[in-house]
Symmetry: C2
Subunit: 232 residues, 2 copies
């Protein structure tokens, strides 16, 4: 029986990667005088990967990596006005209205009161709490766990803080790497709800885990998927 | 009887404001071609204040505000090389060795096993967890709560998560605004350990709260201060 349901935020409850993607497109256009779009994509990804150990996940780190990449690809010719445009794009991301995914509210409302709900998300703490507040879903969650990295250690800590045994916990999210593999790794259950876009650094092959978790098109099927996990 | 002790991280357990201050000095020197140091100070503080609602607290927001201020004060004449120097200074801050304050380790070791210890800190989650890990103090804490803002609502949530009544909780920290006033506001106890430098946006007048909390020169006096709070 699944007692506690962990739910991811970005690209599971609300759109996020589309906002990164739109900003990325704007940056490509902005930096066209300095470099080809495909070069920018490659260099930005390399910068983000290199900077993960400093910045972790989230918009602020993305903006800092974007400025760094702009300086690099332009060989120092990027203008202050262009850098200012990057900073503005970052603030627009942080200020972007929270747009819920299809079925998100209905699924959580159907579960609330029957299962304990915990938001388990990563990225900037301040930004994540702000998005949850603006989503109007805050009241449905028993608690919120923003973690620096969604690995097995983080899930073990969350389960212990919530007071639930792994077989009674299911995680729901869009990322095989963050919401599925480490959750199966600690002996809990997972429901994968893919999002149309996956950030390259979030990509993962399920490998031997394929078939060991539920896969849904959208959150409308969540109550039924959890019922299947209750009674395997 | 104080059962649970909340302990702040930055400028309570380890040096932080001195690192911001050294970086700030470097920025003053770097931007001398564009503006007078006093103008930079004033404009940077205004930018940080304006950006708090986007960035919250922490190094990444500081670096983004620094870049924004450099563009402003130079009227767009800041060079890509100067922006790159700001980004590098930010990474150096995030990579800076964690230097414990006088008496920090001894005080926590004296308390561990006798009181439940909880780290209650704000700023970038990723950076705070990294500092705690590098501090070598992680094992002494029962749990870590990184909050977006240290207000009464945050302390109520922490106390409820920890399972302690306000009169049995004491918070220890360097900031009257963040570690003392909201804690007294929820009916718990506080120990103020001032740090030589206080960031302008962290400043607060204790007002009517003066005399309602313990004040220490450094953490060596913490066990005795808590004993006084046990037995008022």
């Amino acid at each position: 029986m699944i007692e506690v349901v962990g739910v991811d935020g970005d690209d599971t409850l609300w759109h996020s990667e589309t906002i990164f993607s739109v900003t990325h497109d704007r940056m490509r256009a902005l930096l066209t005088p300095h470099c080809a779009p495909s070069v920018l994509d490659e260099r930005l990804l390399a910068t983000e990967r290199r900077n993960l150990r400093y910045f972790g996940y989230g918009v602020k780190g993305f903006v800092l990596s974007m400025v760094e990449t702009a300086i690099e690809v332009s060989e120092g010719r990027v203008t202050a006005g262009e850098v200012a445009a990057i900073l503005d794009a970052g603030k627009a991301m942080l200020d972007h209205p929270v747009e819920l995914l299809e079925g998100a509210r209905e699924a959580l409302e159907a579960l609330a009161g029957r299962r304990r709900l915990v938001l388990v998300t990563k990225g900037d703490l301040f930004d994540q709490e702000s998005k949850l507040a603006r989503s109007g879903l805050g009241e449905l969650f028993e608690r919120v766990e923003v973690v620096a990295e969604k690995d097995e250690r983080a899930y073990r800590r969350v389960l212990s803080a919530v007071g639930v045994a792994p077989p009674s916990f299911a995680m729901v999210g869009n990322s095989v790497r963050s919401d599925v593999l480490p959750v199966l790794g600690v002996g809990a259950r997972a429901v994968h709800v893919p999002y149309p876009i996956t950030w390259a650094l979030e990509d993962a092959d399920p490998g031997a885990a394929a078939g060991r978790y539920e896969v849904l098109d959208d959150l409308r099927g969540l109550p039924a998927a959890l019922a299947r996990l209750d009674d395997p």
